[in-house]
């Protein structure tokens, strides 16, 4: 690259960093105070874009930008007051489920309101052209963006350090019970922060419209980037978010400038993995203060006699089902069983282990791909491929887990996500072996297993046995040690439990089971593609576990079955089925946590 090219790519990076920062700052603020992992932040950004494009056609671009930000802020306030406020005291991560439901609702709302076509916004009046920098044309608007980022940072800094409200926000970020004890009205504080965060997301979206069209895929494309920035910078640190946004945007611009554009698929996750391994709390973050007294885990109950009888009866009913004429039932139940095993394996980590994994699909996918490759390339028989596949997944979990158990909380979750994304991008890119984005086909079981009923019996027996084994593990000495490590690492160590070794073993066992589920999935579909280890699959797993209840033994299995069935049913019967699914999840969230606030 010539020196002028370096300069220009640096400027490109800076412009990109500004838009990234606006979104990440809001997300970071919200998390800092309320501890909510707001999945819907990308959706708020998307709404900001649509609102701005729509308004710009009526009142002009410059009036549309602040108005769109205000509108999204107002919507944020409504979401906080009507929805989130009621579930702050629910077990952690149930709020995550609620925001996930919002993502589904908002996307279908945007489709309904603005139609399916991408909307390219107007250029910004006064900043429509280019200026000449080092012999290259550079958009005036990008120069403006370069200035906006630091301006917003400065404004936020002033608000947080110089206003009373800002002091309260910082106090709550550091120790929200103490702030509450000193008489700070947390309700309004939370509402205020959520409103500000939402408004920032809306502003980010509105400012993006001269550069990119409003489209329905923006929400999810953006949210993972924003999470990465927040985590790399350090949760709750606005300056950290700014530094991280700069770092990632500039690295991306130079990947492109140097001709390694394919790396942009994964580079932010590599950065995040490296940062988290070296600095467990992000660049400028501080160790998370313990949240006291919101909720304590009751010990996981054993399966009661009645519960065990019910499960026994269920198994007998399931075993008799192939007699039913509707063969599709068997296909659907096979999916449910596979996902039940997947959810149960994730539950071992999240429940007794206390480690939320945002990247559990990595092991599912590794198991699926390893089994498929052994089957297709080395012509191993199916059982051997399945077994080897789940061992491969366990090996992957051993590598990823080794790093992850050194962290905790959301940082741990984000590191699992980073590893999963890295694994995904390797599968996605490695055309010669994994078939790239198209994946692999022709993964069918032997003749005697190929009928729907036969494969259903196979899944029923394998998943049934492994799920029961996972349940038993929860109440084995190992399970107790895992739980002890979760509830009080210090005391666990004092009585001689090697906390990290326990957690690491938890990862490996969960990986083994998830890999088996992945292998069964591959042979039931006959084909696999990178979506088996995508973020979406990980999120689905989380949703299943949370729907069923993290702190129940059998809940995740029902959660998986219910979610799979709901999705299948809604997609068939409702036009806006994602919104319907989102609404159903919200209802379930509230049913689980009856208006407690």
């Amino acid at each position: 690259m010539s020196s002028s090219a370096v300069l220009l790519q640096l400027l490109n990076g800076l412009a990109g960093a500004s838009s990234l920062f606006l979104v990440a700052a809001g997300l970071s603020l919200i998390f800092g105070v309320s501890r909510i992992v707001n999945f819907a932040h990308g959706s708020l950004y998307m709404l900001g874009m649509y609102a701005a494009v729509w308004l710009a056609g009526r009142i002009g671009f410059w009036a549309a930008v602040p108005l769109a930000a205000l509108a999204v802020g107002a919507l944020g306030a409504c979401i906080e007051m009507l929805l989130l406020r009621r579930i702050y005291r629910a077990p952690e991560l149930l709020q995550l489920l609620a925001t996930f439901a919002l993502v589904l609702l908002v996307r279908d709302f945007a489709l309904w309101a603005w139609g399916p076509e991408d909307l390219l916004g107007p250029r910004a009046p006064g900043f429509a052209g280019a200026v000449e920098i080092a012999g290259h044309a550079f958009p005036q608007y990008d120069l403006l963006l370069i200035v906006v980022g630091p301006l917003v940072l400065a404004a936020l800094h002033l608000i947080l350090t110089r206003t009373r409200w800002g002091v309260l926000v910082r106090a709550a970020t550091q120790d929200r019970e103490m702030a509450g004890a000193l008489g700070v009205n947390q309700r309004w504080l939370f509402t205020g922060v959520f409103t500000l965060g939402a408004a920032l997301a809306g502003l980010g979206g509105a400012l993006a419209i001269p550069r990119e069209p409003a489209s329905l895929a923006v929400d999810l494309a953006l949210i993972s980037d924003a999470f990465v920035v927040v985590v790399v910078g350090g949760l709750g640190s606005i300056t950290g978010a700014f530094v991280a946004a700069l770092l990632i945007a500039v690295i991306k611009a130079f990947c492109i400038g140097l001709g390694y554009s394919k790396l942009t698929l994964v580079v932010e996750f590599v950065v995040m993995a490296v940062v988290l391994v070296l600095r467990p709390w992000g660049l400028l973050g501080r160790p998370q203060a313990e949240v006291r007294g919101t909720w304590t885990d009751a010990p996981l109950a054993r399966l009661s006699r009645r519960g065990a009888t019910a499960v026994g009866i269920l198994v007998i009913v399931l075993a008799a089902l192939p007699a039913v004429p509707d063969q599709y039932l068997l296909v659907l139940l096979t999916d449910m069983l596979v996902f039940a095993l997947f959810a149960a394996s994730l539950h071992l980590l999240m429940g007794p282990g206390g480690m939320a994994s945002f990247g559990h699909a990595a092991y599912f996918g590794l198991g699926a791909y390893a089994a498929a490759l052994l089957f297709l390339l080395l012509h191993w028989p199916m059982p051997a491929s399945l077994l080897a596949g789940s061992l491969a997944a366990a090996a992957g979990a051993a590598v990823f887990g080794w790093f992850c158990v050194r962290l905790s909380g959301v940082y741990l979750a984000m590191l699992t996500l980073a590893f999963a994304q890295i694994a995904w991008s390797i599968v996605f890119q490695w055309d010669a072996v994994t078939g790239g984005s198209n994946g692999l086909v022709g993964i069918w079981p032997q003749q005697w297993l190929s009928s729907r009923a036969a494969y259903y019996y196979l899944s029923l027996s394998v998943c049934g046995i492994v799920i029961v084994a996972l349940w038993r593990i929860a109440h084995s000495p190992f399970g107790y040690a895992l739980r002890g490590s979760r509830d009080s690492p210090l005391r666990a160590e004092a009585i001689g439990i090697d906390v990290r070794a326990m957690q690491w073993s938890g990862f490996i066992i969960a990986g083994l089971a998830a890999g088996l589920a992945g292998g069964l999935f591959a042979f039931s579909k006959g084909s696999i593609s990178p979506e088996t280890l995508s973020v979406q699959r990980s999120v689905d797993g989380l949703v299943m576990v949370l729907l069923g209840g993290v702190h129940t033994l059998t809940g995740p299995v029902w959660g998986a079955a219910g979610f799979t069935w709901l999705q299948d049913f809604m997609a068939r019967s409702v036009e806006y089925w994602r919104a319907a699914l989102g609404a159903a999840i919200l209802v379930l969230v509230f049913a689980r946590w009856r208006f407690s606030a």
């Binding site: 076509e117 390219l120 991306k252 492109i256 001709g259 006959g526 219910g562």
Partner: protein, 394 residues
């Protein structure tokens, strides 16, 4: 807990599989993931179905479309296809958009021995490397559409080419085919830069900058949708397209072109669908019927959906039955009238010869249009039969 399970089971058991005298097409597609293409597609399908049924159906039987959302992932799509087969007992599977979903359903069709008419997925593998007896594809493949642009690219005699494409199978194989075909037709051509941003996440400023730094004489792009819009706007602002010839697959399709409005770049060579200007009798008939039925103009998706349903009907008529093996035989070599003219389903690889329109972009009244266009017949843009036989391993 028990009651919950009972409710679940009883809901599961509600099934509907009354056999009847209708012909059922099981259509599955990612309606909510790619709505811009698939809403017009659905309208096209319904138009075709209504036309067929109004003229007495097929073999005296009514045609029924059973439409399902496949969720956009191969895993869900296979389950949805199973539902169509096992519960709805459809005669034919049809649809899919993304290539990985198309391949997964095609793979299932071969396993369950049922005809799958892949209407939209573009991947070459669907009819070549992973082609199978039961899968037929309507749209011109990635290879065909690239090949349609090659004659114009060669005419320009540009030496230094830059390439930009979304980083997944469609983009990769478009780029590979373009390089191969252009090098063959114009020895000595140089490829000076290659950018492969992630699908839907192009960092347009940096990409435009990097392409410009390579000082190409011409650019080949396989970008579409939001990526294309970002690329065009940045390229316009930064003057990338001044004095540079640009070739862009698919950019002339109304789904993508119409969003560009006054940003539409002048003179780009594209494949697409100039719906308002095609005045052959068969297209005029289609356009008028579509506009009358939907009060909207047809998009590329409309033509694909319409033609796919017509193709199934034509195949069943020719077979005299909706039985799978006879349908396979009927589809091989089936010729039929479409809005784009006569089309043949090639026996060798089950690819239809439906073509695309090649032309240049221009702005007219603040809208993008195609000018200097001509129809590129899909039959003329195929590799040698020998090569295909090798790929299909049959």
């Amino acid at each position: 807990m028990n009651r919950k399970i009972l409710i679940l089971l009883s809901l599961l058991l509600i099934s509907s599989s009354a056999a009847s005298q209708v012909i059922k097409i099981g259509e599955l597609n990612s309606y909510k993931v790619f709505p811009a293409f698939l809403e017009p597609y659905r309208k096209g399908m319904e138009l075709a179905r209504d036309e067929i049924n109004a003229s007495g159906g097929v073999l005296g039987r009514k045609l029924e479309l059973i439409v399902r959302d496949d969720g956009g992932t191969p895993g869900d799509a296979v389950r949805v296809a199973e539902e169509l087969l096992a519960r709805e007992k459809v005669d034919v599977l049809m649809g899919t958009f993304a290539s990985n979903v198309g391949l997964a359903v095609s793979n299932l069709a071969a396993q369950r021995k049922v005809v799958f008419l892949a209407s939209e997925p573009l991947t070459d593998k669907l009819v070549w490397e992973n082609g199978n007896r039961y899968t037929f594809r309507l749209r011109p493949s990635t290879y065909m559409q690239v090949a349609m642009l090659i004659p114009e690219a060669v005419k320009l005699k540009k030496k230094r080419w830059a390439i930009v494409y979304p980083n997944y199978e469609y983009g990769q194989s478009a780029a590979a085919s373009f390089k191969k075909l252009l090098s063959q037709a114009q020895p000595g051509v140089e490829f000076v830069a290659e950018q492969a941003p992630a699908l839907g996440k192009i960092d347009a400023g940096a990409v435009v900058q990097a392409l410009g730094d390579a000082r190409p004489d011409a650019i080949f792009s396989a970008l579409f949708a939001a990526d294309l819009q970002k690329f065009v706007r940045e390229g316009n602002t930064r003057g990338l397209f001044r004095g540079t010839a640009v070739f862009n697959l698919l950019a002339g399709e109304p789904e993508y072109l119409d969003t560009l409005k006054d940003e539409t770049p002048d003179g780009w060579w594209v494949t697409g669908y100039p719906w308002s200007e095609i005045n052959t009798p068969e297209h005029r008939k289609f356009r008028e019927a579509y506009q009358k039925r939907w009060n909207d103009y047809p998009r590329q998706g409309s033509v694909v959906g319409y033609t796919a349903v017509q193709a199934v009907a034509a195949a069943i008529r020719k077979a005299g039955s909706s039985e799978t093996e006879r349908l396979v035989q009927a589809l091989k070599g089936l010729d039929m009238q479409t809005p784009f003219g006569m089309v043949v389903w090639r026996p060798i690889d089950h690819q239809s010869t439906m073509g695309a329109y090649v032309g240049q972009l221009a702005r007219k009244d603040g809208r993008g249009v195609m000018v200097n266009w001509r129809y590129a017949d899909g039959a003329k843009f195929q590799p040698a039969d020998e090569e295909i036989r090798k790929l299909r391993k049959e």
